[in-house]
């Protein structure tokens, strides 16, 4: 959560599956979004409304560049999730199995009771005070199981996850309310595998799997250092869509394309990119890592200085410091002539 400082917070666990980088924990997703300008693309189906493609849910697919930036800033580690799961599942003994299944069952019961309670309340509200039958039926209900003991069963393994769940449920069941003891409880499919993770400490940077970064990484890291938010560039035929703030709120400023320092750029590409960019109110941005050259020494300070006014205002909040090598960028706009 926002209140946690980066020192207290364990490393974000990026799950690497078949060369892709995924995030499953919404707390991690929001933390990175708020503090590290990582938005990326939600690629999963939202179970509350699974027949649409407008709103997408977990997991979040990171670009390899994003995963690499997070590793370099020492906020995340990348774990090969297929091997991890097979190893951990094979080693899961009966005791932990029982604890885990029971804790899930208890959560399921509490969720179901919360739903029943809110339904009852809705009925009461709708049908008014005149009907006393409602009260009768309510007295039939027996005391629920002791909630606190249920929570204890979760133990340290599950505590993280369950707390999150209960925070997010709209109605917290109160022990004074009478509820049916007979609920079987929902069967739950947890979003993350936190039950399989060692309770503490979370995996360290040394256990991080490698990230296969593309050639355009320097440009990405440079823009990220400057406080921009990047999204995959497929929609505009570029490497990155570059946003001055959270894409939830802001239009992107640039369509960014990476070139090597000595890579040839055809003028037609520049004209086409500039034209497309201007027609959608974006700058066409080209850039790449500077290859060391004795007489280029001053450009670094030059660009850094000259860009100060254009940097996004929340750059100071960006943690972990800059990670990019020296990069030089150019922006193209139609001159309107």
């Amino acid at each position: 959560m926002a209140s946690l400082s980066s020192d207290e917070r364990p490393l974000v666990r990026v799950s690497k599956v078949a060369g892709r980088y995924l995030l499953f924990d919404i707390e991690d997703v929001m933390y990175l979004r708020r503090n590290y300008n990582i938005c990326s693309v939600f690629v999963g189906t939202i179970p509350q409304n699974p027949q649409q493609n407008l709103f997408m849910g977990l997991p979040l697919e990171l670009m390899p560049e994003e995963a690499q930036v997070l590793v370099e800033k020492k906020v995340a580690c990348v774990i090969d999730d297929a091997t991890f799961h097979l190893n951990r599942l094979a080693a899961f003994d009966e005791l932990s199995r029982r604890a885990y299944v029971q804790s899930l069952n208890n959560q399921g019961k509490q969720m179901q009771m919360a739903v029943i309670e809110s339904q009852n309340r809705n009925k009461l509200n709708q049908q008014g005070k005149s009907k006393k039958k409602k009260k009768m039926s309510k007295t039939d209900l027996e005391e629920p199981k002791d909630m606190s003991s249920n929570n204890d069963v979760n133990g340290p393994i599950e505590a993280d996850e369950s707390n999150i769940l209960f925070d997010s449920t709209p109605t917290t069941p109160k022990p004074t309310v009478k509820l049916p003891v007979e609920v079987e409880g929902y069967l739950l499919t947890p979003t993350t595998s936190s039950f399989l993770l060692p309770s503490s400490p979370r995996p360290g940077l040394d256990s991080s799997a490698t990230v296969d970064i593309p050639a355009s990484y320097p440009l990405f890291a440079h823009l990220h250092d400057k406080g921009y938010y990047m999204m995959p560039g497929l929609r505009f035929g570029c490497d990155y869509n570059v946003y001055p703030g959270d894409p939830l709120r802001f239009h992107s400023h640039f369509a960014g394309v990476h070139f090597g320092w000595d890579e040839e750029i055809t003028m037609m590409d520049l004209v086409g990119g500039g034209r497309l960019g201007t027609s959608v109110k974006k700058g066409y941005l080209i850039g790449g890592a500077v290859v060391e050259d004795p007489d280029i020494k001053d450009t670094d300070t030059d660009t850094g200085h000259s860009n100060s006014r254009d940097q996004v205002n929340n750059q100071s909040r960006l943690k972990g410091g800059p990670v990019a090598p020296p990069v030089r960028t150019f922006c193209l706009e139609w001159a309107g002539m």
Partner: protein, 144 residues
């Protein structure tokens, strides 16, 4: 030598186009950097457009806010622009663009802290010329 002639020809074409089609004035072709008087990679054209060619988005907003100039009169005080002539068949690199900018003096405008800017003129085979603004760094797009 061939490159020099090629560059000179492109510069001449662009100068003519700016002069007769776009009504630019004070046009001249420069072969040497005014800062260190070294030879340019290729000749550049400098000139004064009839109207202000570029207004930074921050200035746009400032002008909208200031009621003193509702018609945006500042827009009409032109600035000297530097034009880099290129041909559509050429291939450039980041390194070459960087070298062009490094040989230019700092912007002669009210905001010397802003990135340098040139006008990129690209000549097509049918002698059409397109003009794009090229900034030396991250400059947010105008919001016309």
């Amino acid at each position: 030598m061939v490159e020099r002639d090629h560059g000179r020809q492109l510069a001449d074409t662009v100068l003519d186009n700016l002069k007769y089609q776009h009504d630019w004035t004070e046009l001249q072709i420069l072969t040497h950097s005014p800062t260190n008087s070294e030879l340019f990679m290729r000749p550049m054209v400098s000139g004064l457009p009839p109207r202000r060619l570029y207004v930074h988005p921050d200035d746009q907003i400032a002008m909208l806010k200031s009621s003193a100039n509702p018609d945006g009169k500042i827009l009409d005080t032109p600035e000297v622009e530097w034009v880099l002539p290129t041909h559509i068949s050429e291939k450039w690199t980041l390194k070459k663009f960087a070298a062009v900018f490094d040989s230019l003096p700092a912007q002669l405008s009210a905001h010397p802290d802003r990135p340098k800017r040139i006008v990129l003129a690209t000549i097509h085979g049918d002698s059409t010329i397109v003009y794009y603004l090229l900034h030396d760094g991250l400059v947010k797009p105008r919001q016309n």
